[in-house]
């Protein structure tokens, strides 16, 4: 366990950024999102949840896969370079870290997505415990401990200090490289902080949701539930929930014609959009109700069926606070789970 004064954090950031790219929550135009650290940026570690989750750093909203040129009918393909430099993501929360594990199950399972795999291999995550969890949080429901983020390095803010503990080899390496800035710290303050966090989490309104009804065996029963027809009504069919979600991984592959070639890129897509399943001969999800149902069935039933019961939701609560129509997965869980 190491320790560093909060007011010396800029030095820590500068040290880390000297050796590799450093991404951390940055305040820009009144909103906080992950961004590249430079001396000019305004670092914001007080905001509990960035608007977009940290998945951006590993699975960017859009990335070029390859560019293609057509010269006199001869095609040539130039694949995009994979990440081969180390980088650090500082400030993720326990839920975001769990979100990466959800993505890992998708992208790192055979066949491996090499673009994502390269970023995971080269990225070191420093996660911070949630000092003051909010009412929209329900990570506890998924067995996540916001007081003990399970990443490469775990960190805690206590009073005027940041406590730092490496948990993996990658974390050790990073720690080693900035060690001279730290002083040795002891566990007592951190243990106290952990207890406090856990006590707050117990009190949160969503901390005790019942997920027991969401099992693969109930697929058809849940799918055919008449409640969907009622629940989807306010949905505006925008993609806010999917784009702020740390676990949504659907993407689209598109071409952009630059005038002198074609760039094939992939970008986040949303199952809430009407053209998501549009084919030349028709669309098999024609109503918003079906699309709405797909999103939640996938998170709560289909994904767990393929991943040993792990839910594709980490309870970060971003959709809870961002949905324009105040719909969210919690309302769905309560309603379908029989609580409301």
């Amino acid at each position: 366990m190491y320790q560093i004064k909060k007011d010396r954090l800029p030095e820590l950031f500068a040290a880390m950024a000297g050796a590799q790219d450093l991404f951390l929550p940055i305040r820009k135009a009144d909103q906080t999102n992950y961004g590249l650290w430079t001396e000019e940026v305004q670092v914001d570690l007080d905001t509990l949840k960035t608007v977009k989750s940290g998945k951006d750093c590993f699975f960017p909203q859009s990335e070029t896969l390859y560019s293609c040129k057509n010269e006199d009918g001869k095609l040539s393909i130039d694949p995009a370079k994979l990440t081969d430099e180390p980088f650090v993501v500082f400030g993720m929360r326990a839920c975001d870290v769990q979100g990466l594990k959800v993505l890992d199950n998708v992208f790192l399972n055979d066949p491996v997505d090499s673009f994502y795999a390269a970023r995971r291999e080269h990225g070191t995550v420093v996660a911070i415990a949630c000092h003051e969890p909010e009412e929209t949080c329900f990570c506890k429901v998924f067995g996540i401990d916001a007081a003990n983020p399970a990443s490469d390095v775990a960190a805690w803010f206590v009073g005027e200090d940041l406590y730092w503990k490496a948990l993996t080899e990658k974390g050790e390496r990073l720690t080693e490289s900035v060690k001279e800035l730290f002083t040795d710290g002891d566990d007592t303050a951190v243990e106290e902080e952990k207890k406090q966090i856990q006590a707050i989490i117990e009190k949160l309104p969503y901390s005790h949701l019942d997920l027991s009804r969401f099992t693969p065996e109930k697929t058809m029963e849940l799918f055919d539930s008449p409640l969907w027809e009622e629940m989807y009504q306010p949905c505006l069919a925008c993609g806010t929930c999917t784009f702020v979600c740390p676990t949504c991984q659907c993407y689209d592959i598109k071409d952009f014609n630059t005038g002198s070639g074609v760039q094939r890129y992939r970008c986040w897509d949303s199952c809430m959009y009407s053209d998501f399943t549009m084919m030349a001969h028709g669309n098999m999800r024609t109503s918003q109700m079906q699309r709405f149902r797909q999103r939640f069935m996938h998170k709560l039933v289909y994904y767990p069926a393929n991943n040993d019961g792990m839910f594709s939701c980490v309870g970060c609560g971003r959709c809870v606070s961002k949905c324009p129509a105040s719909l969210n997965i919690v309302k769905v869980i309560k309603k379908l789970g029989g609580e409301a």
């Binding site: 630059t258 005038g259 760039q263």
Partner: protein, 148 residues
């Protein structure tokens, strides 16, 4: 083959010309041997009101440094009222681009009749000179088109 990049700025200019007046005006300029810079690429449209704001933005995206729209004089539209609508649309669009911080000299509307070959050529010369003074369009373009 690596071609050495010349340092001289050659602006790319897109001119949308209405089929009935301005395109004929450009023709007349050509047949009267009135010079205007080759940097101007003319796109013929059936009427000035065919030009959707998206056309203008798209031209900038693909690397245009200036976009000019030419149509029949108010009152002379082949379709009676097309240019009136175009006028309102472009006024608002140009104002919006200015509001976004794009240099307001990069866009222009000029009414050129089929008989005004001289006006066509002087307008284009003026416009190209203006774009030269503004330099390359960096605020309203797509990086992907520039790097490629």
């Amino acid at each position: 083959m690596q071609v050495e990049k010349t340092q001289v700025f050659r602006p790319k200019i897109v001119a949308f010309c209405c089929n009935w007046c301005s395109y004929a005006g450009a023709d007349l300029a050509g047949s009267s041997r009135l010079a205007y810079p080759a940097d101007v690429k003319i796109i013929r449209v059936p009427c000035s009101c065919r030009v959707n704001p998206m056309f203008i933005l798209r031209a900038f995206q693909r690397g245009a440094d200036g976009v000019i729209l030419c149509g029949c004089h108010p009152g002379d539209c082949h379709y009676t009222t097309g240019n009136y609508y175009a006028r309102r649309r472009m006024t608002l669009l140009f104002s919006m681009l200015d509001y976004l911080g794009v240099e307001n000299g990069r866009t222009r509307v000029e009414w050129v009749s089929a008989a005004e070959g001289v006006k066509f050529s002087t307008t284009m010369n003026e416009f190209v000179a203006k774009i030269h003074s503004l330099g390359e369009n960096v605020r309203l373009g797509d990086l992907r088109c520039k790097n490629d």
